[in-house]
């Protein structure tokens, strides 16, 4: 109403031939508003000083993509590795495939990496049905000034917490498919005056198992299949009232123990891994002055892990100093009860009042504690359990100060200068500078240069693990760090067509990984360089059809003397064909090149492979109803992900052909 009245008075001003300064401000405000929306929703990311891939729900659904993990395999330079207990971990640009925390996962602005592993793999099964878009930054840094990543960062914006833009979605969805897969859930929202509420919920399950073959105890045990079953649910709750906001997510993952905690295939079908995560952030945003906005927030994150696993089969032996070689006639069980908590407090200020500057600065404090810290060992089929601590340390304090400034030098050129200082209670302080330049030669040709220094602090597993386990820790292990140099070129031809090329050089220092000897100790193992390129071509064709192709190349070393467990060449391509307004067909092809081994691993390289998926989506717009059918790996290609040396000699065979039917209804 105020705007309308202003309009009337402004119109009168114009008719009276006055300067119309107020009208000019109104127009400038509109232009700024849409610039901000474009920046927040990453729709202008090509013109900004980042290298970002943005995956939208609509396209992911048309391609039959089910989960966050599957969506990440579309990003150039990103591959998936399999570690202990079948944990799947995204690898960016081949960087340290044995570390779990080299990338950060941020869901609706909340970092969900844990302290124990630095990992977030339990969130990777999140269905795309609750996801609005995924923003993937390749390289260090992230889209949030308060977060530093190492090899990359993944920002998930859920539909329930969608930022400025169209009305929030209300929908229900369901799916079923191979391996008795079933999934159902909803996204809901409600607005009453200034109060906005939104929520999402899903439950999914399957009974998948994969042929595993011989494990690291070839003469013992009878199991042949790795149990990958899953029971997973999560609830997201969001509320906003004027400047106040609340974001909460509660998730539980129960799964089979897969390839085993210690890479031994268990004969006990009751073995399992349960992970529960709860996160809550409450904040208040307020105007401190014109063009200066402050946000104060407090956050809480916890993780509860319960695991039961027969880590050594009946009759197997292991070296246990000082006793020597010990045989376990009834095998050896490991039962873990672990829980951690982190509290965070942050105060951040965004300054847009200075012309041609966008300054973000803030301080953040976090306190992480172990709540449960028990490893129980049984050598008599769980009749008796010997309890010991899992980790030697009980906590970590962290404080950081950060500042960055996005400066418009002129209409064509912007630079970003950033710095972050981190202080830890148990590892060395870190300073992370960033410099980025983007030059918009014209609206069709954009050049970018980026330098970032970043680090990854050791996970608690790498630093504090005690007792006789498959891995051992090194309390003196230091953070690994990277100096990343990147150059990018984007050529736009047409509104929706573009070609992107970026080159990177990563100087990784003090990399943390284990060497395959007994004990397998995590330690700083040396410096390694990686370099390569990523390219993408995106075309919008007649009738709204879309073609996309990416190719990535990486070379150098990620461990001593080798580029291990990482493909030098990868490519992805898809075509979405709109047969009619209601019906679309798509095909998705992925190529992952041959992978080398570590220097001491005498096995042949892991073979390259190509997989192809097809999907059909029918959408009935009047009822906002859609149904899709997808067939994954239609040619039933047999392919493998690499296993660590001395574990599964035949590597980890992946799934063959599978199908998925998905339904959704909007309201």
């Amino acid at each position: 109403m105020r705007k309308v009245l202003l309009f009337i008075s402004l119109f009168s001003i114009l008719c009276a031939e006055e300067s119309g300064e107020e009208f000019l401000k109104l127009l400038q405000g509109d232009l700024k508003k849409y610039s901000q929306i474009a920046t927040e929703t990453k729709q202008n990311v090509d013109y900004m000083p980042y290298i970002v891939s943005v995956l939208h729900n609509k396209e992911l659904t048309q391609l039959g993509i089910l989960s966050l993990r599957e969506a990440l395999t579309l990003v150039p330079g990103v591959d998936i590795s399999v570690g202990m207990a079948g944990v799947q971990n995204p690898i960016f640009r081949g960087s340290n495939p044995f570390a779990m925390g080299q990338s950060k996962l941020i869901i609706d602005g909340v970092v969900v990496n844990d302290q124990m592993f630095g990992a977030y793999n339990q969130y990777l099964d999140m269905p795309v049905d609750i996801i609005e878009r995924i923003e993937v930054v390749r390289g260090p840094g992230s889209l949030l000034s308060s977060v530093n990543a190492y090899a990359g960062s993944i920002h998930v914006i859920t539909k329930a917490n969608k930022d400025a833009g169209p009305q929030k979605e209300k929908s229900i969805f369901a799916a079923f498919g191979s391996d008795d897969y079933m999934m159902g859930g909803f996204v809901a929202s409600h607005q009453e005056g200034d109060l906005e509420l939104s929520s999402d919920l899903f439950y999914q399950r399957h009974d998948r198992e994969l042929y595993a073959g011989v494990d690291r105890f070839p003469a013992f045990g009878t199991a042949e299949y790795a149990p990958l079953w899953l029971r997973n649910y999560a609830v997201g709750l969001n509320a906003a009232y004027k400047g106040f906001y609340l974001k909460g997510r509660f998730a539980k993952n129960e799964s089979g123990i897969s390839y085993g905690q210690s890479f031994s295939l268990s004969d006990d079908l009751s073995d399992h891994l349960d992970v529960q995560n709860n996160s809550l952030e409450v904040g208040y945003g307020f105007d401190m002055a014109e063009g200066v906005k402050g946000t104060l927030s407090v956050g809480y994150f916890d993780e509860w892990r319960e695991m039961q696993n027969e880590v050594m089969p009946d009759g197997s032996s292991m070296m246990m100093p000082p006793m020597g070689m010990v045989t376990f006639p009834n095998g050896r069980y490991l039962v873990i009860d672990y829980a951690e908590q982190t509290f965070k407090e942050r105060f951040e200020v965004k300054v847009s009042a200075v012309e041609d500057h966008m300054i973000t600065t803030g301080v953040e404090f976090s306190q992480s504690r172990i709540k449960e810290n028990t490893a129980k060992v049984s050598t008599d089929n769980l009749q008796t359990l010997t309890e010991e601590d899992l980790l030697s340390n009980s906590g970590r304090e962290h404080a950081s100060f950060y500042i960055d400034d996005l400066i418009d030098i002129d209409e064509k050129t912007s630079i970003q200068l950033g710095a972050k200082f981190d202080h830890f209670s148990d590892v060395k302080d870190q300073f992370s500078p960033r410099f980025a330049l983007v030059h918009r030669y014209d609206d069709e040709n954009i050049y970018k240069l980026i330098y970032t220094r970043s680090y990854r602090e050791p996970s608690w597993r790498e630093q504090y693990l005690i007792g006789s386990h498959y891995f051992s820790a090194s309390e003196g292990v230091e953070s690994e760090s990277v100096d990343a140099y990147e150059a990018a070129f984007i050529h736009k031809f047409g509104i929706h067509n573009d070609f992107k090329l970026n080159l990177f050089y990563l100087n990784n220092q003090d990399q943390i990984y284990f060497e395959n000897m007994n004990p397998r100790v995590f330690d700083n193992r040396g410096d390694h360089e990686l370099y390569g390129l990523e390219s993408e071509l995106s075309l919008q064709l007649a009738q709204g059809d879309k073609f996309y192709l990416n190719y990535s190349y990486v070379d150098g070393e990620n461990v001593s003397g080798a580029l291990a467990n990482s493909a030098q060449h990868m490519a992805r391509a898809y075509y979405i064909h709109n047969l009619t307004r209601e019906l679309s067909l798509s095909s998705l092809v992925k190529y992952v090149g041959e992978k080398e081994r570590t220097q001491d691993d005498t096995r042949d390289n892991v073979d390259d492979y190509i997989t192809a998926d097809i999907s059909a989506v029918y959408r009935y717009e009047p009822e906002d109803l859609s149904i899709s059918l997808s067939v994954k790996n239609i040619f039933d290609t047999t392919y493998y992900l690499p296993s660590p040396d001395g574990t599964y000699p035949g590597d980890f065979e992946q799934a063959g052909t599978s199908f998925l039917v998905r339904l959704s209804k909007g309201f």
Partner: protein
Amino acid sequence: MALSVDPLLLQAQASIFPKIMLLDNAISNKIKANRLVLDIVHTDAQTASATKLKSVIDTEYNNSLGDLRFEVRLVNIKDFGAEEDAAAYYVFDASLPSVKKVVSHAKSAQRICFGYSYKDFNDGILISLFVKEKTYIYLNKSVLHQYAVKFTPIFYRIAKVIE
């Protein structure tokens, strides 16, 4: 098949283009029956996008622009004729042969012709809007004299002139 448009760009254009109409010095001569009319001229394939654009404008402006009534009309290109009397026109793709008559008519009638894409400046549209690191109003200088539209000075302070 339906035209694929950027929802954010459409929303920004819906919000800003009507205000630009008020910066036409001769706007009072283009009012008919106390109404200011914006015609969205579309092909069959562009109907959904045109409807969406009209809906966003109607929601923001509620049929009034200042103390004038403001009407947004959807006009199929097949029905477009020389008798059209809107204060301004909007087209999605001026490169289409069927749409060229809209641009010609706008020029001869000294009416603003807005375009979805500034790429159509070669096809004679006068004003467009583009969202990149900032949002820009683009003015097609090469055809400005053909339209003979004069804007108030503040428009030239905010529009980016494209040669």
